[in-house]
């Protein structure tokens, strides 16, 4: 294919000011070109500079940053030298950005209509019709149902997918020649994500817009982009055709990145030992649950308290064998976290329908015997929240030892060191505070705290969703090892089907508080029962399966 360089990036360097006279280089020596109508994927882990690069396409740097060097030509114009009205015309007119989080990226007090019409007016983009009509047309083009209703709504009244479509519509107002998408679907559920991706791909194909797609998700990039740019620490480590990069990675880093992706076909085979018909460690039978009114809600005086509609669970039954893993998968609002909270005893209301090791679990943890509290542990999603910022690692891991085993501080120390080693954490961590650790280290401390109790069942609520893929792979590996060594059962909750499949012997699919599918992993992956599971599988399968199959643009 003949490539005229529509976009030409030369020696781009971007620095952040970190002190009165110190700077941190965020992007260094970036060079590449891109032809008109091409799609480029930029991948890398958090902090690699991909978002800064995305913004540079719009001649924009975040507060505190500045372009230190280089040129960025779009259609032959160095857009980094634009200013004043030229810049205003360029941004949103010739180039547009679709930001990561559609909810926080829409102004909360403006309606969707106001969002669109202000841009239409700004860029004189109504093309002979009223701004309102143009906005409605755009909404319709985004395949949004009932554009007239959407037009009048506020951002918080839309679903995540709808919001993202609105944000894309806003980017397309002036029919720009370049669209930059910065992790546009990360905040979305997988099934919604694939719909949005299809839409973007279709629009790109129709308008022959040049597209830059930034994501940490290699699957998505593989689906969307012809070319790919792999970034690490502000530098380009690999660049080329997507197919060749992903199939024949040239650098170690790219290989690690690709290897770390949990893939559906990697699902572990159920070991016969674990599924042996021994007595289940946890049994849930016909559990229904509805959130009561929260503590403060509904009283006369609390007029501004925000109360969201309560998610409910209906007729949930499951069992977990000792030492095995039950994966619970579902999208946001499916009630999977509620299930974990009920088992853990954070919320009351299981009404004796949950039994642990043959004994009924009382509603709240505080009502349970100490021994039961020890044997059921929970690991939370966000280690920044689950670790007390004022406590050292030693205090964090030592506390359960003191409570459940009556250890003195001195006695507990050896055990803490042992746990740290089990989790690949250096002993020097002992005196550190959580904020002095990386995200992966923090989560490993949280796991160590759970395993300090020698639990029989660990409830894992989205434990890796805040982590980068390589870190996630490491943590998941450690968890598998711990499970083997201690014969611990996991209730493993995640929205990420490949991760769940990778970890679990059995999988339970939740949707809207109901079980859609419940079987061993192999069965779920290969012979899903419900249409919902199939849809879910498809969403992930498209992604996982297509790394080697070229991009979505060509699929359509």
């Amino acid at each position: 294919m003949e490539r005229t360089p529509h976009i030409d990036v030369r020696n781009l360097k971007l620095v952040y000011k970190t002190g009165s006279n110190s700077e941190l280089t965020a992007l260094d020596d970036i060079n590449f070109t891109l032809g008109k109508g091409e799609t480029l994927g930029i991948v890398g882990e958090s902090g690699c500079g991909k978002s800064s690069l995305a913004r540079a396409f719009l001649s924009y740097t975040r507060p505190g940053a500045r372009i230190a060097d280089g040129q960025l030509y779009v259609s032959g114009v160095d857009i980094l030298r634009l200013d004043g009205s030229g810049l205003l015309k360029y941004r949103g007119g010739r180039a547009a950005l679709v930001p990561q989080n559609p909810l926080s990226s829409l102004t909360p007090h403006l309606t969707i209509g106001q969002h669109l019409t202000e841009l239409i007016r700004q860029h004189n983009a109504n093309g002979g019709i009223t701004s309102q009509q143009r906005a409605l047309d755009l909404l319709a083009a985004m395949e949004l149902p009932d554009p007239v209703a959407i037009y009048k709504r506020y951002p918080h009244q839309l679903s995540g997918g709808q919001r993202q479509r609105v944000v894309i519509a806003a980017a397309l107002v002036a029919e720009p020649e370049l669209i930059v998408l910065d992790e546009p679907t990360t905040a979305l559920d997988k099934t919604v994500e694939s719909q949005v991706l299809l839409l973007v791909a279709r629009l790109q194909k129709e308008t022959n817009t040049t597209l830059v797609y930034v994501s940490h998700d290699l699957n998505v990039i593989a689906r969307m982009c012809e070319r790919v740019l792999v970034m690490q620490n502000g530098k380009v480590v690999e660049e080329g055709e997507t197919k060749s990069v992903f199939n024949r990675p040239q650098t170690e880093y790219t290989r690690t990145l690709i290897a770390a992706i949990p893939k559906l076909q990697h699902a572990k085979q159920p070991s016969p030992v674990r599924l042996a018909d021994s007595a289940p460690i946890l049994t849930v039978k016909g559990l229904d649950f509805t959130y009561g009114r929260p503590k403060n809600a509904g009283s006369l005086f609390n007029v501004f308290k925000r109360v969201s509609p309560p998610p409910t669970l209906q007729d949930i039954s499951l069992t977990i064998q000792p030492g095995s893993t039950l994966g619970v998968v579902g999208e946001s609002g499916s009630g999977k976290s509620t299930l974990a909270s009920l088992v853990a005893g954070l919320v009351d209301g299981n009404e004796g329908k949950i039994t642990f090791d043959g004994k009924p679990l009382s509603g709240l943890a505080t009502g349970r015997q100490r021994e039961l509290r020890r044997r059921v542990q929970m690991i939370f999603q966000d280690p920044a929240s689950s670790l007390n910022p004022q406590h050292s690692v030693e205090q964090i891991i030592g506390r359960p030892l003191q409570i459940f085993f009556g250890m003195t501080r001195a006695a507990s120390r050896d055990r803490i060191v042992e746990l740290l080693e089990e989790l690949d954490l250096p002993v020097t961590c002992l005196g550190r505070l959580p904020r002095q650790l990386s995200g992966g280290q923090q989560q490993r401390v949280a796991i160590a705290r759970a395993f300090a109790c020698k639990p029989d069942l660990v409830l894992c609520d989205e434990v890796t969703s805040a982590l980068d893929v390589t870190v996630q792979a490491h943590v998941l590996g450690l968890m598998k090892r711990l499970q083997r060594e201690h014969n611990t059962a996991y209730l493993f909750i995640s929205h990420d089907l490949p991760v769940v499949a990778d970890m679990s012997d059995q999988i339970l699919v939740l949707e809207g508080g109901r079980i859609r599918d419940y079987s061993d992993t192999g069965t779920i992956l290969n012979h899903p029962n419900s249409p919902y599971t199939r849809k879910l599988l498809e969403a992930f399968a498209i992604a996982s399966g297509h790394i080697a199959q070229g991009n979505l643009k060509n699929v359509i």
Binding site: Y60, G92, L97, A170, R306
Partner: protein, 325 residues
């Protein structure tokens, strides 16, 4: 819409409850804690001439011998019907004593609030445009300095400079309490300036923080990247959100403004309720103190209610939660 009305109704009931509680606090503070209205009101020299029996008779005459709940209910009723009763010794209606001063103070405080809001909006937007920039530093430092200067110093210095040296305004406000309100309005200009100098600083800090936060938000970044001009983004996208923390502090702000106006009124000899309050305190004129405290609290609660309405208008998410709550 119905649920919003419902919420407003509840907010009104809440305000009513808070005011009832306020009147209880005022009642306890003035009539129950050490001594009672009689011993508090009669001058010491005269009190020596009263026998315990006479004092008991007096208490009976003023109804101070009755149980506390009954007396509180009476006070409550007095306050909530805006009757306020009569002064202790001369039996003149309290309302006659405080009506004009109260209106005058209302003019002072209301004008101060408007000027302050305007000032704070302009300064807050200017400063937040480039946080840490020269303009921001200058405005922030100036407001911190004026914040550090007590009302009574600012007021006095203003009088010396603007009235005595420059002769731009009168040094002493002669306008009688019941003067035409336009006269009062003109007389209030210098006091308003003094109040704003000190009072605007805190509001400015709140608004600036809100603006900086809003301008760092994703939606402002998106608006910027969509090519909208900065001034437009500031006013249309950032300001309404940035004003919410400021509006949430309205109760405290209005309470502080009323406190400040007592000081400033004294400095300028402004015919407001501040001097009336000090006089009532000196005379231990309990019904007057109660009335002033209650009306001040009413002003605060009302302002807060209006601020809540404004928040409701500014943030559709609050409207939504009202529908669930």
């Amino acid at each position: 819409m119905g649920s919003i009305m419902n919420m407003l109704g509840r907010r009104l009931i809440l305000s009513f409850a808070i005011l009832s509680l306020t009147s209880l606090i005022v009642f306890l503070g003035t009539e129950v804690l050490p001594g009672d209205a009689i011993t508090a009101t009669i001058p010491a020299e005269e009190l020596a001439f009263y026998t315990p029996e006479q004092l008991a008779d007096l208490r009976k005459e003023y109804g101070l011998d009755r149980p506390l709940p009954v007396r509180f209910l009476e006070v409550w009723e007095r306050l909530f019907t805006f009757d306020f009763g009569t002064t202790l010794i001369k039996k003149e209606p309290v309302l006659d004593h405080i009506a004009h001063p109260m209106i005058n103070s209302g003019i002072l405080a209301g004008l101060a609030m408007l000027v302050m809001l305007g000032l704070v909006l302009v300064l807050g937007i200017l400063a937040s445009l480039k946080p840490g920039g020269r303009l921001d530093t200058a405005i922030s430092a100036t407001t911190l300095f004026t914040y550090s200067m007590p009302d009574f110093v600012v007021g006095n210095v203003f009088v010396v400079i603007f009235a005595v040296w420059l002769g731009l305004t009168p040094a002493v406000i002669f306008a009688p309490t019941n003067a035409p309100k336009l006269t009062i309005l003109l007389a209030s200009l210098l006091p308003v300036a003094a109040l704003c100098i000190h009072g605007a600083a805190y509001q400015f800090r709140l608004l600036r923080a809100g603006m900086v936060e809003a301008l760092n938000s994703d939606y402002v970044e998106r608006a910027r990247l969509a090519g909208l001009p900065t001034w437009y983004i500031c006013i249309r996208h950032a300001l309404p959100v940035a004003m919410i923390p400021m509006l949430n502090g309205t109760a405290q702000f209005v309470a502080g403004l009323l406190s400040g106006s007592v000081v400033v009124e004294t400095v300028f000899k402004y015919p407001g309720v501040g001097s009336e309050l000090l006089r009532a305190l000196a005379q231990r004129e309990i019904p007057t103190i109660q009335a002033i405290a209650f009306l001040a609290a009413l002003a605060v609660v009302t302002a807060n209610f209006i601020a809540d309405l404004a928040i409701l208008g500014l943030d559709p998410r609050v409207r939504a939660s009202a529908q669930h709550g």
